[in-house]
């Protein structure tokens, strides 16, 4: 199976406990919502944070709906609301 790099930005890396993690996606992870459920496991605060509507998913650099199907992504980033400038 191919590997996927997961990235967590902003406060999400504090909640996840790391900013980056390499995983092999199980066959039953079809979309972002499945991914969130799988990687959160029993970490309820993480699941709630990642599922928040203001948290965006960038799949191989494309902002992607959490319901859209994932096709062997190399990199998935979880992006909380931006606060630059």
């Amino acid at each position: 199976m191919s590997q996927t790099r997961l990235l967590f930005f902003g406060n999400l890396q504090d909640i996840a406990g790391h900013s980056e993690r390499i995983v092999e996606l199980p066959a039953d992870v079809h979309n972002g919502a499945d991914l969130i459920k799988w990687i959160s496991g029993d970490n309820a605060p993480l699941r709630s944070a990642l599922s928040a509507p203001e948290v965006k998913l960038a799949v191989d650099h494309a902002i992607t709906d959490k319901e859209s199907e994932l096709s062997s992504p190399e990199e998935i980033a979880f992006l909380p609301p931006f606060s630059g400038g």
């Binding site: 960038a58 992006l79 606060s83 630059g84 400038g85």
Partner: protein
């Protein structure tokens, strides 16, 4: 054809140097407008900001924002420089400048760029203060600012 320059800087942002360079490469422009954002220092409890970005993606997104915006204003040149890393009070965070034949286009372009950078550019800001560290969230003012601009970055006449 508009010249677009985007830079993400880990080191200090020398605003004077970059502005002087931008000016000297835009001597034929009738109007140059610049915006410099600095870390405010009136709240003395803030020791520094930490700006995080998503390497490659952030650059791509800013270029996409810049492309969109210059397509709407008659500008010759657009410069965007954004700091990442640790930034102390009074230091520059962001510099945006536009050169144009006429002043209205230059003003509106830089104004629009800043509203978009605030809300649409992938940066995350952490405040390091005497009370510890906390992630800064965008304010409702930022998204209200963005709503001043229509789909095409033209000013909404409300």
């Amino acid at each position: 054809m508009t010249a677009i320059t985007v830079q993400i800087l880990k080191a200090d942002l020398d605003a004077d140097h970059h502005l002087a360079r931008f000016r000297s490469s835009n001597k034929n422009a009738g109007a140059i407008v610049s915006f410099l954002g600095q870390v405010r220092s009136e709240n003395s409890h803030v020791r520094a900001l930490h700006l995080q970005h998503y390497p490659e993606f952030t650059e791509k997104r800013i270029y996409a924002i810049a492309d969109d915006i210059v397509a709407r204003f008659e500008v010759d040149s657009l410069l965007i420089i954004h700091r990442i890393g640790r930034i102390e009070p009074a230091a520059p965070i962001v510099l945006a400048a536009a050169a144009a034949a006429h002043r209205r286009a230059a003003f509106e372009c830089v104004d629009c760029v800043m509203d978009y950078l605030k809300s649409e550019a992938p940066f995350w800001k952490q405040e390091d203060s005497s009370n510890g560290q906390r992630w800064v969230y965008p304010t409702s003012g930022d998204s209200a600012d963005l709503q001043r601009w229509g789909e095409n970055c033209t000013k909404e006449t409300a």
